[in-house]
Symmetry: D2
């Protein structure tokens, strides 16, 4: 792994994350724990930790961005959810980019801009 500064959302592909997570799991011989059901459970748990950072708080976006400790904690918990999501993708040999593209197409079809053009929202 090179220096942090070399990696950013501008240049890192999903494949990189997949390889990093796979290596981490295999080096610890943890593949046996990473069944689809266990990973989904882990996503629930990490989402809960992320959620706790905001529970009973009414932070504005600015207050969050200006709170360095909170931003660090949020970054860590977002990363944890993401890491398990990537591990699930690894375990089932999926392509996250392709899944994203297809789901976005469905979402655009379901929530057409002609119908949802004034800031309306309702579950469809």
């Amino acid at each position: 792994m090179k220096l942090n500064e070399e990696y950013s959302d501008l240049n890192v592909t999903i494949s990189f994350f997949k390889k990093e997570v796979q290596k981490f799991v295999e080096e610890r011989n943890w593949s046996k724990y990473h069944t689809p059901k266990n990973i989904v459970q882990a996503i629930h748990c990490e989402a809960g930790e992320l959620s706790q950072l905001l529970l009973f708080k009414n932070y504005s976006k600015e207050q969050i961005r200006n709170n360095q400790q909170l931003i660090t904690d949020i970054n860590d918990e977002i990363a944890d959810v993401f890491i398990y999501l990537i591990s699930l993708v690894n375990t089932l040999d999926l392509d996250l980019s392709n899944a994203f593209i297809k789901k976005m197409e469905k979402n655009r079809e379901k929530y057409k801009t002609e119908e949802f053009n004034n800031g309306k929202y309702y579950k469809k």
Copy 2:
């Protein structure tokens, strides 16, 4: 958006997902809904939908991979969790790749291979 086939985990960066999600949200004037707390709540909800696909089932990985409808559904729900994760990253102006790199470093430090080298696992 071009054809699905052009996009894969080998060549898509996080910036692409960020732009796609931002465009989707803005075209519907939904930014006002995408507060950090609401997005985290949405992650809980989508994780729940993902989880339901496996609830009370004992699928092997092979059974999941060979069940085309299930794979489609899992892809869709993974994508939904990911979309909201990206929206949270957008809202708070974070860099997911950098968050990932930093958290993986902490994880490697916390779960050292010298200690976790035999498939052991316990919460630290």
Copy 3:
């Protein structure tokens, strides 16, 4: 089961819920599904369904109480979370009332009224 009207929070004990849930599970031969891990997963799923009823909404309590369909839906989803919680208590042969009493004592000790007397809140 007698008429709904006979049961209310004033006169129903936890034992009643435990028996009803146990009977429901056994009549369908579903005990094998109700492992602790599966039930906890089900709680995540049902919490997600409850959560979706409020997602991206800014209902006041009055708006919720005056929306009969929403109240019915919320009642149903609260009941689902509760049913699985009771099933977990059944599976592990616990006493929910005793667990509640003990946890409330811990909570009173942790969040002392001398310290939390002005509507303050922070995670301890």
Copy 4:
């Protein structure tokens, strides 16, 4: 509050829990935090803490029951989910017993014993 030993699932009604939770919340002036959305978020968080106790573990029921520390922790986390569920019931002035009765009727209708009589399960 009298001695723990006096309370058990055989004799405690939901009204007792409702009053205890209400008193706890009011004594700390926390009613303002206990909006329906916040409480639902808290349920997600507490379910996550409960879930973590079992994550990546393959405990049998007997192993859990014989592990006194784990049983204490599980009791505490079940109680936390329950406390927030009761707080939601309080906030919306609902009757949990009535919600339970009605949902169980729907469940019996949906999962008829004639159809689900051999340990089958599928989402309906």
